[in-house]
């Protein structure tokens, strides 16, 4: 029996891109949380400044749905 999987898109910004990627498809099992992806990418939770899921602010405990667009930012500012 095959395990069901979903595909999501992950986008990384600023220093998170170093040694990783700018944008990549990731496969995960249903129920995977944002925190699981952060852990898979070996990003320390304390380094996370902002998380956006489908262009909205999100929390690490939120689950990911098929086709989700997850964006991860370190703490940044400007203006």
């Amino acid at each position: 029996m095959q395990t069901e999987t979903v595909q999501i898109t992950v986008k990384l910004f600023a220093s998170f891109r170093a040694g990783r990627f700018v944008e990549a498809k990731q496969t995960c099992v249903p129920g995977t949380r944002i925190a699981d992806i952060i852990s898979r990418l070996e990003i320390a939770p304390k380094d996370i400044g902002m998380i956006m899921l489908d262009n909205r602010h999100a929390e690490p405990e939120q689950p990911l749905h098929a086709g989700a667009r997850l964006s991860l930012f370190p703490l940044l500012g400007g203006g």
Partner: protein, 576 residues
């Protein structure tokens, strides 16, 4: 002892006087707004004989306090018709503080059509008639003034736009590398041009260090303050590495990047003009990703951007400029955006107002969206040379919208809306609507809490809490703008309690006083209310604290939201 210098251009005289006791505890914006409120009739013509242009360094400027070298300029604005304060880095503020010059007040209008300069040094101030500088851009002017007074001289100047009294015109401030920072917003360059002053040169040679009432206490507080700037991830790492343009991708991702004259909330070309791309381009071309706009800045968010041949192209290349020329006008060629930035510095126009204006001009069909080369040509050949079309464009966003019969004209109180769409980032919309300055993101930068998770989080798509957020930020900003501090100290200020405590301790040690945090908050409230009072007397009521109608009628993608605050909700801003 601190003094006030008045230059009267009507009779070409200079006087120095003591600081009135009511002004003694003020600096920067607090002082410029106080002087403008006290001495400028609110109903005067901004380019007429009764307007005054005031320059003031902040309370801590000239000391060793990190990032304290901002200069405020204030007047009645020819762009908005309201009171105006604009501030910038550069070297002039520090020199004024070393000369114990608490404020420089320019009054009156000359009777002759000559051009003048003012030179200030430890012996006083003198007015000179100028014969070789008319029509020069700011970069050529800096060469002329440095040849006359030496490389170190501080300079405040106008380009061609200021000479022509265009509402887009800014005042340039020479930075430590003989390049340019800008007192950008509100057309203050036109006020300097109306007084026929092409430049002010400042030489602090032979001046003593700024006096401190308690040097030991100051040193201790200054050390604590610097540590908070270095410890906070935004001021310690993010800004020095990527500059302010790191916001391009962030605001695009949040769906708040106004694109194609505020038609969409995301720009397809965002990655090409992002802070990440700018950083990599600067490094590959041998520029500097990190650079201070004034001596003593530890944040160093500026940069030096070279062209493809490795030659200097521009510096002080900021998010709002890159957004406006880039996404706002659909130009995704980074070198075109950088060239436009340099040309705007040279002719002396506000890069936010100019970019927002070009968005409307493109929608009006004056030139196509995406035409970077055409825009640069228009800046140089039309605005810079004052052709009839250049005069129309030089009148600013609202002017172009009116002349071409447009409805999507993003202005509040006549000033172009910067860089963050108020429909999808509602806190900044409250600031745009209510700020006494007209649409001004820096006056209450709610992006911190709406988007960046600094100082907590308030959902940018919801109305709850946004009026209170903007109010608290505008009060705090009015106070910080009086200290000479860069507004970016707000990032550690919102997250690390000792940042603002150390700031107050530094002010107390500088002057030998006992201010509390409440005193500082009250100063911010007093400044805001005083500025609003000027505006009311100038004819601005609560009906002017509103966003343009199109924001309520046209949903913006990707969130498909409109601006939905009622007038009553916005009016509650002033309940303090």
């Amino acid at each position: 002892m601190d003094k006030i210098c008045r230059v009267n251009m009507s009779d070409l005289t200079v006087t120095f006087g003591d600081v009135p006791s009511a002004w003694a505890g003020l600096g920067g914006r607090g002082l410029t707004s106080t002087i403008v409120s006290a001495e400028v009739p609110p109903d005067c013509h901004p380019l007429g004989v009764n307007n005054k242009l005031v320059f003031a360094p902040g309370l801590l400027t000239g000391t060793a306090a990190a990032s304290s070298g901002r200069l405020s300029a204030g007047a009645k604005s020819p762009l908005t018709g309201t009171i105006k304060e604009s501030n910038a880095g550069g070297t002039a503020a520090r020199m004024m503080a070393r000369l114990e010059l608490k404020a420089l007040i320019l009054e009156g209008l000359p009777k002759e059509k000559a051009w003048y300069s003012i030179h200030i040094n430890k012996n006083g101030a003198t007015i000179h008639e100028e014969h070789e500088v008319e029509g020069l851009g700011n970069f050529a002017l800096i060469d002329v003034v440095e040849a006359r007074f030496g490389k170190r001289v501080g300079i405040l100047s106008i380009g061609q736009a200021g000479e022509m009294r265009m509402s887009l015109a800014n005042i340039s401030v020479k930075d430590p590398d003989s390049k340019i920072r800008s007192l950008g917003r509100g057309g203050l360059g036109a006020v300097l041009g109306s007084k026929r002053i092409k430049f002010i040169s400042i030489d602090d040679e032979g001046t003593p260090l700024v006096k401190l009432a308690d040097p030991e206490k100051f040193k201790e507080a200054s050390k604590r303050f610097s540590k908070t700037l270095q410890d906070h991830p935004v001021t310690g790492q993010g800004l020095p590495t990527y500059g302010t343009a790191v916001l391009v991708n962030i605001i695009n991702e949040a769906g708040g990047l106004p694109t194609r004259n505020f038609t969409y909330g995301q720009f397809d070309g965002h990655e090409k003009i992002s802070g990440e791309t700018i950083h990599d381009t600067i490094v590959a071309r041998g520029g500097k990703p990190k650079h201070g706009c004034h001596p003593g800045c530890v944040i160093q968010c500026s940069q030096i951007y070279n062209d493809a041949d490795g030659k200097y192209l521009t510096s002080g290349f900021e998010y709002e400029t890159i957004w406006g020329i880039g996404a706002g006008c659909c130009i995704d060629d980074l070198d075109d955006v950088a060239t436009a930035d340099s040309v705007m510095d040279d002719i002396g126009v506000d890069s936010i107002e100019t970019a927002v204006m070009f968005g409307v001009a493109m929608e009006a069909g004056i030139l196509p969206f995406g035409d970077g080369k055409g825009m640069i040509r228009m800046m140089r050949e039309e605005i810079g040379k004052g052709t009839p079309l250049g005069r129309v464009l030089g009148g600013g966003t609202a002017n172009v919208g009116r002349i071409y019969g447009m409805t999507r004209v993003p202005v509040v109180k006549g000033q172009g809306i910067p860089a963050y769409d108020p429909r999808s980032i509602k806190g900044i919309g409250v600031t745009y609507a209510t700020s006494p300055m007209g649409a001004d993101h820096t006056s209450g930068y709610s992006i911190t809490t709406n988007i960046l998770n600094v100082g907590g989080h308030a959902d940018p798509l919801k109305k709850e809490g946004q009026v209170a957020l903007s109010r608290n930020l505008q009060i705090a900003t009015a106070a910080v703008d009086s200290t000479g501090m860069c507004i970016f100290i707000a990032f550690p200020g919102l997250d690390i309690p000792d940042c603002l405590a150390a700031l107050v301790d530094m002010i107390n040690a500088r002057f030998g006083i006992e201010l509390t945090m409440d005193d500082v908050t009250n100063l911010g409230k007093t400044i805001l209310k005083m500025e609003r009072q000027f505006n009311i007397a100038a004819g601005f009521g609560k009906e002017h604290d509103r966003l343009p109608e199109f924001f309520s009628l046209e949903p913006i993608s990707p969130h498909n939201v409109v601006w939905d605050f009622t007038g009553e909700e916005l009016d509650a801003f002033w309940d303090f």
